[in-house]
Symmetry: C2
Subunit: 413 residues, 2 copies
């Protein structure tokens, strides 16, 4: 039997527990949705005050130079690089994950001119599929997306063929938390002559990622989940150095020009990753992400992953110990094959999540019946996991999900 | 002879002079670069504090619902609509101007399937040309951009032909400030069977725009110039209601889906302007723009334009009165044909601007020799124009531009 005291003792021994104080987490809340929106790092509030009052307010247009706004897309990319096994000049921050996917998918198709198929997974996060569909519609002429079931991806050979230009997969599944073996999948994709594009939205900042060791070609990821960059923070994109001079973005905005301030009428892509910049970046949101990333400079990523796996293991063990058979475990049981989240199934999943939120335990519902709990190791405690599962137990035993106010659907879930 | 006292008297009579107090403008600065980056409205600082501390910090993920983050792209678009002669459901805020141009140009080509040429102006802001070039490269197969000189656009018939799908022009030229007659150009473009796309980046918030009366098809514009939305604020896009069900965005992000939270694997575009949303918006930057726009609710746009024209006329008259023949006027002299800016030419233009900036008069240099001064009527005073021209006179008579520190080029100009 695991007890709350056991959990508190683990927190006491956890060398990273002080990091929680860097966040402005509301009292009375157990936040298990950092994989949707990371909480507010205190440093971000200070930084935004500086950017708004001093930089924008007082120094105005000069801030592009004197406060380095113009350098932020690459400087913030370079901060993300060590989190994903990239070199600093292989990562840039720009636009949204969706827009960045479009750029990289379009670039991939041009790198494999004799191939016209994009392979992905039917259960991928929908925007990835929508973007690929929009691109192939625009190209017409035999370009297509083949979205296959996960069973066809493991092993992936069955999904590959001579027409496949690029395989686009999300490293950690947004619902189940299932984690691909990045190196193995990439190798198999390369063996079939295709490029590999990883969506790291649900990995970066909580799961160790080594794009370089895996030989991955391209990647995108999200700034507002485990990176805690704020709502709708800009996304990042990765292009392996070996591809950077051959690949172009179809979104040829002025900041991707070799000399943007020459204002020449002809487009000449910048050398390197900068060619994937497009329009003027949203500095307030970008500066927030920049400040949030400083937290990772203090962190051992291996230790963070170890803690993340332990939090997940504890969560599942406590569910089995405390909640009986009403819940089905809907994520891999082996932490090595799971991202930093757990998933459960309950026929009344939506209402269970609403009842938990009413108790201050903020998890997330994913259609049709998945309860999803993000376990961000930067700020979550083992005792929080204990308390969350106790709330879950009480919601189930008291049938709180059956109350009308929890059954009512909101616009955003 | 115009005197400073005349200018101060005009300020005294100006009913809009109180609006200046809504901005946090630094003392000792005359800011003539609001057409690059509008200054900080005080209301934005308050709003960002609320969004960061309360909404993100305390209410976390729930803010998408309870604080309406999810509605902001259309709600902010609806606030912009009256500034450009659009209905509230014809405007959305999303991404950057560059990305929005890509969406609308791609959509235009699909609306005119038998035509493959995009016409624009060689002196258009470069990102407009780059984006069109990137799109036609991606389409291949005879798609092309024809960028012509302004002399070929007035009258525009010579630039049109049976292969032209869409004409993309910037309403107010970013260098010279020259203003197109929107209704007349649109009518001529329509007569040739093409669509008309206006870039309103240098008009919105300072020049009256009536897309509806002009019968324009499509438009984009910038949030961080005269709208004062903050550095890199998201852009807006306009699609006339008559086109909304026929046109699609190639950037099919999840927020443009008819039911984004169903997370269906198949893309089904939202009805109306929402289909032009793409990824998750940068809420901090979007909220800043939202707060900045509230200023316009108090303003009579006709009176604003009248003041803008008067500021420009005063500037040019004072240059002629005070500065002799060293400067060439590089903008239309007739205010009716000019946006809210003036342009001058000087062989040492770059250094003249640097010398002015050192004196606290912030203007803008545009290659090769253009001094550009934005005259934002929301916060600029007639006496500021007097003072700015006095500084300009002293820079020229004292040959201050010849100092080494003013000759040295910075990265961003």
């Amino acid at each position: 039997m695991i007890t709350r005291a056991d959990c508190a003792a683990r927190d006491h021994r956890d060398p990273s527990s002080a990091l929680r104080e860097r966040f402005d987490l509301p009292k009375e809340v157990i936040y298990l949705d950092g994989n949707s929106l990371g909480p507010l790092p205190r440093s971000v509030r200070e930084r935004l005050g500086e950017v708004v009052d001093r930089q924008w307010g007082q120094d105005l247009i000069r801030s592009w130079n004197v406060h380095g706004w113009i350098d932020l897309p690459l400087a913030v990319g370079a901060k993300i690089a060590p989190l994903i096994g990239a070199d600093p000049d292989e990562v840039a921050v720009a636009d949204s994950t969706s827009v960045d996917l479009f750029k990289l998918l379009a670039g991939s198709l041009a790198l494999r001119p004799d191939r016209r198929t994009i392979v992905s997974e039917r259960d991928n996060f929908p925007t990835d599929l929508y973007i690929a569909d929009g691109l192939t519609r625009l190209r017409g002429d035999g370009f297509q997306v083949r979205a296959v079931g996960r069973e066809e991806i493991d092993p992936i050979e069955s999904a590959l063929g001579p027409d496949v230009a690029v395989v686009m997969l999300t490293h950690v599944d947004y619902r189940s938390g299932a984690l691909y073996d990045m190196a193995e999948v990439t190798e198999r994709v390369h063996a079939a002559g295709a490029l590999m594009l990883w969506d790291l939205s649900h990995s970066t900042g909580a799961v160790e990622v080594d794009l370089g060791a895996a030989g991955a070609d391209l990647a995108v990821g999200c700034g507002y989940k485990y990176l805690n960059g704020g709502p709708g923070a800009p996304a990042f994109l990765y292009v392996a150095r070996r591809h950077q001079q051959a690949i172009r973005s179809p979104l040829q905005g002025w900041l991707g020009h070799a000399a943007p301030f020459e204002l020449s009428p002809d487009y000449r892509p910048a050398d390197g990753i900068a060619r994937f910049l497009c329009g003027t970046p949203p500095i307030l949101s970008l500066a927030a992400l920049d400040a949030a990333l400083d937290l990772f400079a203090e962190v051992d990523l291996g230790a963070l992953r170890t803690k993340s796996m332990a939090l997940g293991q504890l969560f599942l063990e406590l569910v089995e110990q405390e909640c009986g058979g009403e819940l089905e475990i809907a994520c891999p049981r082996d932490a090595a094959h799971r991202g930093s989240q757990v998933a459960l199934r309950h026929p009344e999943g939506y209402a269970v999540i609403q009842a938990l939120i009413a108790r201050g335990v903020i998890g997330d519902f994913r259609t049709p019946d998945v309860l999803r709990f993000g376990l961000a190791p930067l700020y979550l405690r083992f005792a929080d996991v204990w308390d969350a599962v106790q709330h879950l137990k009480e919601v189930l035993t008291g049938r709180e999900w059956d109350r009308p106010e929890h059954q009512q659907r909101a616009a955003v879930t």
